[in-house]
């Protein structure tokens, strides 16, 4: 019979192999599902995992979609390593869009044209503050009132979505927009413009990579980052060492809220360039998967971000070219995370083949 036996040390190798194994299993299940739906499994899988790399334009779309995923997941990695369960990144991302987009809209409606080097950082800084403020509510309620950060951060996602609707159906609606619930287009001076001609890929990915490096330094080279992780792994040890749990909570939530807000700011002026009720597409939730697939590590998150972005774009291609429902992309994303967590068992345990015990206990 098969038996799980604890390993003396967590396996580093399995920690890296587990996402690969999960991906392979997801692909196998996806192939089966395609066959059940009456599509050629090989073509279906190619559409999801190969076609997004077909040409430069396609690849640039991939990078464009991966950018917010990577930025949000970086913050979540800091949170989860500190054992702070912020699952409301979607809400913090939306507040980044509201705050960043709000600044861009204000500049636009007041006819203020700033040099791009001033306007873009201004918008992004507003996005960061918006995300931080939203995550700050969760931190405050956890710190002062002991309220579960899981439930509070998640509830605030629904509130943030209604806040977006409230603004675009109300005060921020474009008066010249034929009563569509959407804002004016932001002035071009606030846009993140394409850096590769002929594509939509903008400087967002450069900003993302800078923050990948910064997060790595924070987590693995700064004392503050070390304190957070000790608190996450061994709360008692952290208390004994005199590390403040409350400071760790605030840091983790403000960092992740700020990064989710930054992603919102980047999307607001890099992709949408206006605010509509459709700015919430669940990227904040997909980023949770990115974070786990990337092993809560900044470098891993880059690869995981590209992978999940591939799956999202593959889903869109599968819909337009093979008539597969786009919802499949969500199924595969969820499946990937479930399978990943199951495979992660192999980090701490090994499977042993054992002859059945002679006398059952």
């Amino acid at each position: 019979m098969l038996k799980l036996e604890p390993r003396a040390q967590p396996s580093k190798l399995m920690s890296l192999l587990s996402p690969v194994l999960a991906l392979v299993l997801t692909a196998i299940l996806a192939g089966i599902l395609f066959a059940v739906l009456g599509k050629d499994p090989v073509r279906g899988l190619a559409m999801y995992f190969v076609e997004p790399f077909a040409n430069l334009r396609q690849i640039s779309e991939l990078v464009l979609k991966a950018t917010p995923l990577i930025v949000i997941a970086l913050g979540l990695a800091v949170c989860y390593r500190s054992n702070v369960w912020n699952i409301g990144a979607e809400g913090q991302f939306l507040l980044g869009i509201i705050a960043g987009g709000g600044v861009a809209l204000w500049l636009t409606t007041h006819g203020i044209v700033l040099p791009k080097i001033v306007a873009v950082p201004l918008v992004l800084a507003a996005g960061v503050l918006g995300g931080m403020a939203w995550a700050g509510i969760t931190a405050l309620l956890r710190d002062r009132f002991n309220a579960s950060e899981i439930l509070v951060s998640l509830m605030l996602v629904y509130v943030a979505q209604q806040l977006v609707n409230y603004l675009v159906f109300g005060a921020w609606k474009d008066p010249m927009g034929f009563n569509f619930p959407q804002t004016k287009n932001f002035d071009a001076s606030t846009w993140l413009t394409p850096i590769v001609p002929g594509t939509r890929m903008n400087a967002g990915i450069v900003i993302a990579l800078v923050f990948v490096a910064l997060t790595w330094v924070f987590l693995f080279r700064l004392f503050r980052g070390f304190q957070l992780q000790v608190g996450g792994l061994a709360p008692a040890a952290a208390r004994y060492a005199g590390f403040s749990g409350s400071a760790a909570l605030w840091t983790a939530l403000l960092v992740s809220g700020g990064l989710a807000g930054l992603a919102g700011g980047i999307e607001a002026i890099g992709t949408f360039r206006q605010i509509t009720p459709h700015v919430s597409t669940g990227l904040g939730f997909t980023a949770i998967i990115v974070c786990f697939v990337g092993r809560l590590h900044p470098v891993g998150i880059v690869f995981a971000g590209l992978l999940l972005s591939t799956m999202i774009i593959g889903g869109e291609l599968g819909q337009s070219r093979l008539g597969l429902p786009n919802a499949l992309s969500g199924v595969f994303q969820g499946l990937l995370l479930v399978l990943l967590l199951a495979c992660d068992t192999l980090i701490h345990f090994r499977i042993r083949l054992r002859p059945a015990p002679a006398a059952a206990r």
């Binding site: 309220a147 579960s148 786990f292």
Partner: protein
């Protein structure tokens, strides 16, 4: 007056799925397992129930389909967290994300389909009383069954031997194991039962409450039900009252709009979620109070022999 009676009736209907799901999660948590997958379970059960009702026209088959779907997903979750020792938070979250995607995928053909409005069950005699009749006694039978389930759970948890064992497993799995109880199987049973109840709640939402299917129909009620267990400090009767309270808040937004109050509908739609946050903060304010009432091993994995 009639308006108020209808409002009370709507509050009971809106609180019922929260009460059933909250009760399921309470039993789940009493065994020491936290299932953050409630939202996903309810979504999959909602579409399973809707499909069953659409095909058969029977509410009871719909509830059975919802319960089966919920039990199946919860059992899968249970095997992962109880035997493979995966992180309970992450696994529950994964189940919620999967459930969202899967229900959207399965439900594609049902979007926009509407079931016939359910004819309420009139309690003989009582339904004719002015005001009280329309307020309390003209409901779907499930509304009364939910109250019965709460009473049953109170008896089960605090008056039956099996309930005592369940609570022992949640409070101290080591002691229960030492006494010879199969902690992991008991936990799996509790998780599966909890999933089945979440499933019934999901089916109630799509078949009776809505009655239609849209993507993301559950709209956070799985998470609110999770908050409800804390709100109720893990007592069944308080789950019922909490559920009606949140049902009332949900209905209050429609009542306010109907009364012509000048608040935008988007701000009113925030109410149930904000209420959850506020209530959670008030209840959790006293950490000792929570610690005393919370199942002591909640969220902690148990390996026999470790």
């Amino acid at each position: 007056m009639d308006q108020i009676a209808l409002l009370i009736a709507a509050t009971l209907a809106s609180g019922t799925p929260l009460a059933i799901a909250g009760l399921g999660l309470l039993i789940n948590e009493k065994s020491g397992v936290l299932n953050l997958g409630a939202e996903g379970i309810m979504l999959v059960a909602a579409i399973a129930g809707f499909a069953a009702a659409h095909a058969s026209g029977s509410d009871w088959l719909a509830f059975a389909a919802g319960a089966a779907a919920g039990a199946l997903l919860a059992a899968g979750f249970g095997v992962l967290v109880i035997w493979l020792n995966t992180n309970q938070y992450a696994t529950g979250l994964a189940l919620s994300l999967f459930g969202y995607g899967f229900s959207a995928f399965v439900g594609i053909g049902y979007v926009g389909q509407k079931l016939a409005e359910r004819t309420p069950f009139e309690v003989p005699g009582l339904a004719q009383i002015p005001f009280i009749g329309p307020a309390l006694f003209r409901q779907h039978p499930m509304v009364y069954i939910a109250i019965g389930l709460i009473a049953l759970a109170m008896w089960f948890l605090y008056r039956s031997r099996a309930g005592l064992v369940l609570r022992a497993v949640g409070e101290s799995p080591e002691s229960a194991h030492a006494l010879g109880y199969k902690v992991r199987w008991i936990r799996l049973l509790a998780v599966t039962a909890g999933g089945a109840l979440c499933g019934v709640a999901g089916a109630f939402l799509s078949v009776v409450y809505a009655p239609l299917w849209v993507e993301g129909l559950v709209a956070g009620r799985g998470w609110i039900a999770l908050a409800l267990t804390t709100f109720a400090t893990w007592r069944p009767l308080r789950v019922l009252f909490g559920a009606y309270l949140f049902g009332g808040v949900t209905m209050a937004q429609f009542a306010l709009q109907g009364a012509g109050v000048e608040i935008s509908s988007q701000l009113l739609a925030m109410l149930p979620y904000l209420a959850t946050v506020v209530v959670l903060a008030i209840i959790s304010r006293n950490p000792t109070w929570i610690r005393i009432n919370m199942p002591a091993s909640l969220g902690r994995p148990f390996h026999p022999g470790a």
